[in-house]
């Protein structure tokens, strides 16, 4: 057991170093705008999917409402910056507080639900926030879309170099991945996986279900909100139909599942596969019509959840187990 533990540690250090090197070297090595954009999106969504994974993978609660936190992050920092001149760095933290408050309040409702009911209730949460925003917008007279003036400065979180954005998103990814790593080997992480695998059994050994699910939910919501602010500062334009779009919630879930739900590397691998896949499919299949790339993407998704529900990481793990122990069915 102890040798095993050491082995894991050693591998983890290598993996962490590789990740850190990628985040710091890759943006410098590339100058093509297309690839830098792709890299920013991969890093950002790797971080966001990892945040989704905190709740969906570790606690087993499939949220389809994370776009609410993403949108709150994007809107809070932008509104404070545009109307009060508050730096987005602080606005980002305010967004985190609001997102966490929403997560805390809604947890009283959604934690009573499991499976598809949890998913549906979270969809409703996301849509409610969007509708409320549209309603509030018409009352206090702010435009439908908000653009942020391009004034590059560190304090404005606006950069003239696209690679700075890529590095920033990379740091965000590293931070969420680090939290996932610490969680995996902590008491809270074990509790979460126990309640994910069997709520009743977990409760019967004295795990406070609500408390631990809430911890995962708050962290997940907070990080998703940070991702929303980063996206707003990168695109410099937000509108309700883009940042409160339910497809964001779905994408986060899909990337996590494709890579391997409930694992640290899964969401990162999922984002690394999904984002370029979407971009290239869009490029290759554009002659066939507007939605062609999403048709193929959806077909791939269906095949993955049917054939490899544990994702790339799970498939690799099973392959390794088979290679070491032989086929258990043989």
């Amino acid at each position: 057991m102890s040798t095993n533990w050491l082995e894991v540690q050693y591998k983890d250090v290598i993996a962490a170093l590789v990740l850190i090197l990628i985040v710091f070297i890759a943006p410098l090595a590339i100058s093509d705008r297309f690839y830098l954009n792709l890299m920013f999106l991969v890093f950002l969504f790797a971080g966001l999917s990892s945040a989704w994974n905190l709740l969906g993978g570790y606690a087993g609660q499939f949220s389809l409402g994370h776009t609410a936190f993403f949108g709150i992050g994007a809107y809070t920092s932008t509104l404070f910056y545009n109307y009060a001149g508050l730096t987005p760095w602080i606005g980002m933290l305010v967004g985190v507080m609001i997102s966490m408050t929403l997560a805390y309040l809604i947890s009283y409702s959604v934690f009573r639900l499991r499976g598809v009911f949890f998913a549906m209730a979270t969809v409703a949460m996301g849509e409610t926030v969007r509708v409320l925003l549209l309603w509030g917008r018409s009352k206090i007279d702010i435009p439908y879309g908000l653009s942020i003036d391009y004034k590059p400065a560190i304090s404005n979180m606006i950069f003239s170099e696209p690679r700075t954005y890529a590095t920033l998103a990379g740091l965000f990814m590293l931070l969420v991945a680090l939290v996932c790593y610490l969680l995996t080997n902590s008491r809270v992480g074990y509790y979460l996986r126990a309640l994910r695998d069997n709520e009743d059994a977990a409760q019967s050994v004295g795990i406070d279900l609500r408390r631990y699910k809430l911890i995962a939910f708050l962290m997940s919501a907070g990080f998703t909100s940070v991702g929303g602010t980063l996206m707003a500062q990168y695109v410099l334009y937000i509108e309700p139909s883009s940042v409160f779009n339910v497809t964001i919630s779905i994408d986060l879930a899909l990337m996590t599942i494709m890579g391997g739900i409930g694992t640290i590397l899964g969401p990162l691998i999922g984002a690394l596969i999904t984002i370029p896949l979407q971009e290239f499919l869009k490029d290759w299949l554009s002659p066939f019509g507007v939605g062609a790339h999403l048709v193929v993407y959806a077909a791939i998704l269906i095949l993955i959840v049917m054939l490899l529900p544990e994702g790339v990481v799970g498939a690799w793990r099973n392959f390794r187990i088979k290679a070491i122990k032989g086929d258990p069915r043989a």
Partner: protein, 294 residues
């Protein structure tokens, strides 16, 4: 007072449509215990089917409804045989995301085939576009959809109560193992339930096309509405779905009158409140505990 009556009547008309749209979702949930996230997309297929039948052959959507039903039933059987059959014994994750995948697939196929344009069909001339009832003016297309909804709902209830297959469907929704034990052919029941469920959903889309626009993502709002209606009336409870539809229709119409921008929020907030305080709906849910409601 006059406004109140007008609101109530339009709400009830809308509710009938919601009940019809939600019926298929509930039927399939009852039997297979699968929440079909692609439900709205089958409604969208029905809308486009009725639209093109009307455009190409000049058949009015109310007359082509049986045809749209058959088409939907066929799609439903394919959906069951091609996908659902393999997901039923898999984890929740597979069930949720496989049907979600189908939803994205169908939305984008529609986008490729019909572009993102909003299509509408005018069935009645402007002279006949509204009728007067109890002193209030009502849209003829809404009234027609409502009549269709009532007739179809009654037919479905009759089918479930009176025929062998209907009773078998009811039995399987109540207890799958017991139903199998008494010799009901489960596979057949599943196929019939999916044919009927998706057929009804497509039919609902078909009779909605004269009063709602058809566009590729029209289904995503209907899946949530249907879900609210089903939960409101109780999962697996068909008469409950009808009551749920009426309630939601009236509520949405009233909210829409008072605060138009919040209309869409009605069903979202209602869903959250309902799942929190009354997860059993108005009339109770069979096997709710097993399905994730406590």
């Amino acid at each position: 007072m006059e406004t109140t009556i007008q609101l109530l009547i339009s709400g009830i008309l809308l509710g009938g449509i919601y009940a019809l749209a939600a019926m298929g979702l509930n039927l399939i949930f009852g039997v297979a215990k699968v929440v079909n996230f692609a439900h709205g997309e089958f409604l969208m297929i029905g809308m486009y089917a009725a639209y093109w039948i009307a455009k190409l052959f000049g058949i009015n959507p109310y007359w082509s409804a049986p045809l749209v039903f058959v088409l939907g039933a066929f799609v439903g059987v394919l959906f069951y045989l091609g996908l659902i059959r393999f997901t039923i014994y898999k984890t929740e994750l597979t069930q949720v995301f496989a049907t979600l995948g189908v939803a994205i697939l169908l939305q984008n196929l529609a986008l490729m085939a019909f572009s993102a344009d909003y299509l509408s069909l005018q069935v009645f001339s402007s002279k006949n576009s509204s009728i007067q009832l109890f002193g209030s003016y009502l849209s003829t297309t809404r009234v027609m959809s409502f009549i269709f909804a009532v007739v179809v709902v009654l037919l479905v209830m009759l089918f479930l109560k009176k025929t062998y297959m209907g009773k078998a469907i009811d039995a399987v929704s109540q207890d799958l193992s017991a139903a199998r034990l008494v010799g009901i052919n489960i596979d057949k029941v599943f196929i019939v339930a999916f044919a009927l469920g998706i057929g009804l959903t497509a039919l609902a889309g078909g009779v909605l096309i004269p009063s709602f626009y058809a566009f590729p993502t029209v289904g995503s709002s209907f899946v949530l509405i249907s879900f609210v209606v089903v939960v409101l009336g109780g999962l697996g409870n068909i008469p409950g779905t009808v009551a749920g539809g009426f309630l939601l229709g009236v509520l949405e119409t009233i909210v829409g009158y008072l605060e138009p921008d919040l209309k869409e929020g009605t069903y979202f907030v209602l869903l959250i409140l309902l799942l929190t305080f009354m997860p059993n709906g108005l009339f109770g849910i069979k096997g709710a505990e097993k399905e994730g409601l406590k």
